[in-house]
């Protein structure tokens, strides 16, 4: 029983040592860069950033909301499989949950970096201001991570047991720990797993939509001081963007993983995911269009100022270049054009393009609304992240990718035959 798995491991290992070594090498270099940035951030506090009292939120907040979005999107996609039984996407089910977990860890790391008093981060959990959306959010994030881990556990449980039985040494202990001491490989136990998965998935849907990512959008939407944010559509746009970015990331991860392991990439799956992504994207764009149209139509001074900053300001390239071109135009073309819609490479490009574009979307949510002053006479803000912000952000993202890679190597994230759908 132990020999075949060792052989398979060896086989895969032999075919991709160079790619893997390069990947880890790159990640480690980026993480070291990140550590340098984090060192200066800890030493000098927030003075190491380009943030000011007028522009209090910047890159770290933008990345934090971006990764919460990725997480919620990936999770909601996994519920399509687990709760709604959409067979087409079963192959990315576990990867979706694991991506969701890693994204949340990255998001909370960004929040930690952003706090003025980092050592007081626990206060956010100890104290609960019932009228503060942010307070609810922090508590929801923790609950959500626990739910994600639990759901992934139930998904992987039998495979973890099998891995434990077939491994030796520290791996055996690791899988034993991850399986939480369970030893039951019977179909009845598996049925119980599915019941749990479905229940957690069901609870998770409103938690993700309203609590986690709708909530993150709400924390901007309730601010009446910033008219651009203060709209009921904002939380909905957040959820839509989350679905778009989560689907895109999952598509990209699936394609890359299969290619790196020299396995076949299922074109039907990729096409289905890409079309789903495009569908979400079109809805997202429509909502954003309405948001801008209603904002600008009233010709209200502050609304117009924010839109002008967004469309024609100093960093308008992040709108036209990232949000519109990479985030919408290019991927929609690639997904729908006859020339590229059946090409896996093109769809991979479309996916990663969307992910990059949505980073632009998040920056464009946070920054332009803060650039425009709340009172006439106050100076206009100006912001571009400092090298500390860039390097620490890159480092944290590299850390996330490292955690994902290690997890993908150790954990049974590939779909197994006795997946949930066969038992519907």
């Amino acid at each position: 029983m132990s020999v075949p798995s060792v052989q398979t491991e060896k086989k895969i290992g032999l075919k991709q040592p160079l790619i893997e070594k390069t990947w880890f090498g790159v990640l480690i270099v980026l993480m070291v860069l990140g550590l340098i940035g984090v060192y200066f951030r800890v030493q000098d506090g927030l003075a190491s950033t380009n943030l000011t009292s007028l522009m209090p939120w910047g890159a770290w907040v933008a990345f934090y909301i971006f990764f919460v979005g990725l997480s919620a999107g990936s999770f909601l996609l996994s519920t399509l499989i687990i709760v709604f039984g959409m067979k087409r996407f079963e192959v990315v089910g576990r990867a979706a949950l694991f991506t969701a977990i890693i994204s949340m860890i990255v998001a909370l790391t960004f929040v930690l970096l952003d706090l003025g008093q980092m050592d007081r981060f626990a206060y956010a959990l100890m104290f609960w201001n019932l009228v503060s959306v942010l307070s609810w959010e922090i508590h929801f994030y923790v609950l959500y991570i626990v739910l994600l881990i639990a759901e992934l556990y139930f998904m992987m449980r039998p495979d973890l047991i099998r891995l434990q039985q077939n491994s030796i040494g520290w791996k055996k202990r690791l899988y034993g720990f991850l399986a939480m001491g369970s030893n039951d490989l019977s179909p009845e136990a598996r049925q119980k797993d599915y019941k749990w998965m479905k229940l957690l998935g069901l609870i998770g849907i409103p938690l993700a939509i309203f609590g986690v990512h709708g909530g993150t959008g709400t924390l901007f939407a309730v601010i009446k001081a910033r008219v651009y944010w203060n709209s009921g559509l904002f939380p909905v746009i957040f959820v839509m963007s989350a679905l778009v970015s989560g689907t895109a990331l999952l598509t990209f991860i699936y394609i890359i993983q299969q290619k790196v392991r020299n396995l076949k990439v299922n074109l039907d799956v990729v096409k289905a995911l890409s079309q789903l992504m495009a569908f979400f994207l079109i809805i997202d764009l429509s909502l954003e269009f309405y948001e801008w149209f209603v904002s600008g139509y009233g010709l209200e001074h502050e609304d117009m100022a924010v839109l002008a900053t967004l469309f024609a300001g100093k960093h308008a390239w992040s709108f036209w270049g990232l949000q519109i071109f990479f985030g919408a135009a290019l991927p929609l073309y690639l997904v729908f054009s006859k020339r590229t819609k059946n090409s896996i490479n093109a769809l991979a490009i479309a996916a990663i393009s969307v992910v990059i574009g949505i980073i632009g979307v998040r920056f464009n949510i946070v920054v332009p609304a803060l650039i425009v002053p709340v009172l006439e006479g106050l100076p206009r803000g100006d912001y571009f992240p400092s090298w500390v912000e860039w390097s620490s952000s890159v480092g944290v993202i590299a850390m996330g990718m490292m955690l994902y890679t290690i997890g993908a190597k150790l954990l049974p994230l590939e779909e197994n035959e006795d997946e949930v759908l066969n038992h519907e």
Partner: protein, 293 residues
């Protein structure tokens, strides 16, 4: 860098001047032990180690016996919660000349670091030649009755006091800056930890006793660094019976301060003027700073 001021030495100088309580009490007609005991415990009350009520319960009987009719028991326990003041400010824009004295005196009074200004004067030129005018609008914290900043703080570090001032607990604030984003008046600033030390030797040796709390010197990473700060109507001055620094130093006598609960106060009367207006009234924040056009 070695500090030039050693505050502990000043404390020692004071201590060496203090008279011995026992020898002082020997010359008086009253009980020495009670005097020494109440003195020590009174200091404990000021330091917050015991409450006024505990002090009262401990000494009430003894003091009655000792002083008889002369002892007017303040009866801390029975004192009913009187309607305290509800502080507010009125700023007459017709008198403001835009000299920025209020901004500077606020900075001097509160020893705010670079980048933090509790009060600013917004200036705008209006009209076209020859009908040009200048509007100068000082903007402290509005101390709103419905403060959006207090609503959004995840740890409730900022909250409204009974006297109307919106306070910040520097020991609880985690520096997330959500309140800065939420303030419609831009009245809050973040303390990035910067210092005027290279321009003013000794800047880091003292901090203003904001909210009546002396934080001694300004060390790296120590609150209020990494926290959000704002105008608090010079609460430490109010406790001493003084007006906020900006009100006192205004050269145009444009700023007024007082108790809105008292219908005879200048601020209550001026707030009823037909010239009175408040900023961003439509947002429903109920600011306590009233402007006169």
């Amino acid at each position: 860098m070695k500090k030039l001021l050693n505050l502990k030495e000043f404390d020692k100088m004071i201590d060496s001047q203090l008279k011995d309580p026992v020898s002082v009490m020997k010359d008086s007609a009253y009980d020495t032990a009670l005097a020494v005991s109440t003195g020590i415990d009174a200091q404990k009350v000021l330091a917050g180690k015991i409450t006024q009520e505990e002090f009262h319960n401990k000494y009430n009987t003894d003091l009655k016996i000792e002083f008889g009719d002369k002892y007017l028991s303040a009866m801390a326990a029975e004192q009913k919660k009187s309607d305290g003041p509800r502080w507010g400010m009125v700023i007459d824009l017709a008198k403001c000349v835009g000299c920025d004295t209020c901004t500077v005196s606020c900075k001097a009074e509160n020893r705010t670091p670079p980048g933090v200004s509790y009060n600013v004067v917004l200036k705008k030129e209006i009209g076209a030649f020859p009908d040009v005018g200048k509007v100068n609008m000082p903007r402290p914290c509005m101390q709103c009755d419905k403060p959006p900043c207090a609503q959004v703080c995840p740890v409730r570090a900022t909250y409204k006091l009974d006297n109307g001032i919106v306070a910040i607990d520097y020991d609880r604030c985690i520096g997330c800056r959500y309140c800065i984003v939420a303030c419609p008046y831009g009245a809050r600033s973040f303390d990035f930890g910067e210092s005027y030390e290279d321009e003013m030797i000794g800047f880091n040796d003292l901090t203003a006793p904001e909210y009546g709390f002396d934080r001694e010197d300004r060390e790296k990473g120590k609150s209020p660094q990494g926290n959000v700060r704002k105008c608090n109507f010079c609460m430490h001055r109010l406790e001493r019976g003084e007006e906020p620094a900006c009100v006192e130093t205004c050269i145009g006598d444009a700023r007024f301060f007082g108790d809105f609960n008292n219908p005879n106060s200048i601020v209550a009367k001026l707030a009823n003027s037909p010239r009175a207006f408040r900023l961003k009234e439509e947002l429903g924040t109920e600011p306590r700073v009233v402007y006169l056009r």
